[in-house]
Symmetry: C2
Subunit: 326 residues, 2 copies
Amino acid sequence: LNQDADLFSDQIKSLRAEIDGALSTIDLPSRPEYLYTPIRYTLLGRGKRLRAILVHLIGEALGADREDLINAALAVELLHSFTLVHDDIMDQDNIRHGQDTIHEKWDESTAILSGDGIYVVSQLVISKIKTKTLSAIKAFNKAALIVCEGQAYDKAFENNYDISLSDYFLMIEKKTAWLIGLCAELSGIISDQTEETNIQLRSFGLSLGRAFQIQDDILEVYGDVETVGKSLGSDLISGKQTILTVLAREENQEEWLSSWKNIKKMETQTAILRLRDYLNRKNIIEKAYKYVEEYVDKARDKLEVIPLRHRDKLKQFTNIILKRVK
Amino acid sequence: LNQDADLFSDQIKSLRAEIDGALSTIDLPSRPEYLYTPIRYTLLGRGKRLRAILVHLIGEALGADREDLINAALAVELLHSFTLVHDDIMDQDNIRHGQDTIHEKWDESTAILSGDGIYVVSQLVISKIKTKTLSAIKAFNKAALIVCEGQAYDKAFENNYDISLSDYFLMIEKKTAWLIGLCAELSGIISDQTEETNIQLRSFGLSLGRAFQIQDDILEVYGDVETVGKSLGSDLISGKQTILTVLAREENQEEWLSSWKNIKKMETQTAILRLRDYLNRKNIIEKAYKYVEEYVDKARDKLEVIPLRHRDKLKQFTNIILKRVK
């Protein structure tokens, strides 16, 4: 079993290298530099490429055409990258994947325009797909609009203490989960599967995506202390809704708000420890982890559409989500 | 002939009303309001709809399917609208078509996200086209990338006194002309014309688009005094390259820069009169108008691909560009 895990981990690394390679060799003009230099800078950044990897794993399992697979994976990664560039402006985040964001390194105009450019390039790439081209394009852009809706909820919910757990789930479904759902659906489309299969694939991705975002929220507070130290403040301080704050408010809104008011004033390392202490004491972290497990299980239950001999790989992929560290 | 002109003017009005109607009834969800309220606000604004009208005129002349025509016209108008929303943030323009821009009425995050949303909606609309769908989508997104390149040149050229006339023409070809070229090309594509015809249609639109942008630059200074009074400063003060400044620099860089330095300090109405005086005295306005006429003529020369009985309408359309007032 360990050998299996090693093999899988090697495959992930080699897929990531392949996707990085494809991203770095996308055929883009060199001028105007104002547009293409920041686009190249972004595409050469260190992303985890989890979405593109998922497209590859499912597409390979279902026998997709190799070239279509590369284009689908690339298009999804570009769509994701476009949303990050624009979200980082909106949220004033200055670091992404260990490097300055575009609006930080250049300025906001440059970041707006290169984000637009990356999205346009994603359209050019997705329309290169040869199998079920139009279905692929339609699913792709439907997802893009839903991601915009998710980001809109994310912004509209900032600092709103009335946001319920179901509001939160609506937001993360659109902001994060749908794009991961698209990865799975798209692999089905380009493998010429039935609509029924594609919907089940999407719902696998949706569940996995929910788990992914909840895990992300947890890692904001419970990740490696040094890393969290730098980024605590980012989401929580800007008043974003996360699984932890929503559950904490649901458990006892008054107590949470008064504790959080104090914690916010503390020096970062102390604040994290105090925050963890609160969330542990109230069993909130436990509840949050249960959601991660629940959604990973739900995702796994949808894997019967994947041929048996490939299914284990996909299960191992869901483990990456379950156990990932920031 | 006057009767013809009246009939044409009525047709333009009715097309504009039809396009406004189609824009106002695009099927969009109502929530999240953060995304869709500003999108609706923008689409209900008073645009001239010249691009969508051009799609209709050519598509009707070439016998395009009615529904395809409406979708092509809408998609182009949405693409144009998306670029305006983002350009207005980059250029800090606060008024567009007589109403506050999104970033002025709401904020920059709202404007970035609604611009993105409008572009995604344009993708959903363009992919509804039934005739030569994939060709239409590809031409559409190729144009979208070129428009981004044009905006990049526009930003990169700001306050750069070394920009030549040919740099200027490169910039306006991409920033403005290509989208008008797309309108013509797209009408050809959905009318199932040969590639040769579509290229000629595009080159009609490209010439017309160049004339349009040069005329726009002229109207910044020579339009109705009241209107210009409010907007002088916008493009010129922010150091944009316009046909007038580029020609003035080419004629005598030193004299122009020292005059412009003085003019900029004056009260707006006086500044405009002094500016006009300078440009008249140096024959710059005359040269600029010659370019408008030259490109309108070039456009008209491409009209032989339009059936004879429809050709006159298209000629009348080029007159709108030639004689338009701001």
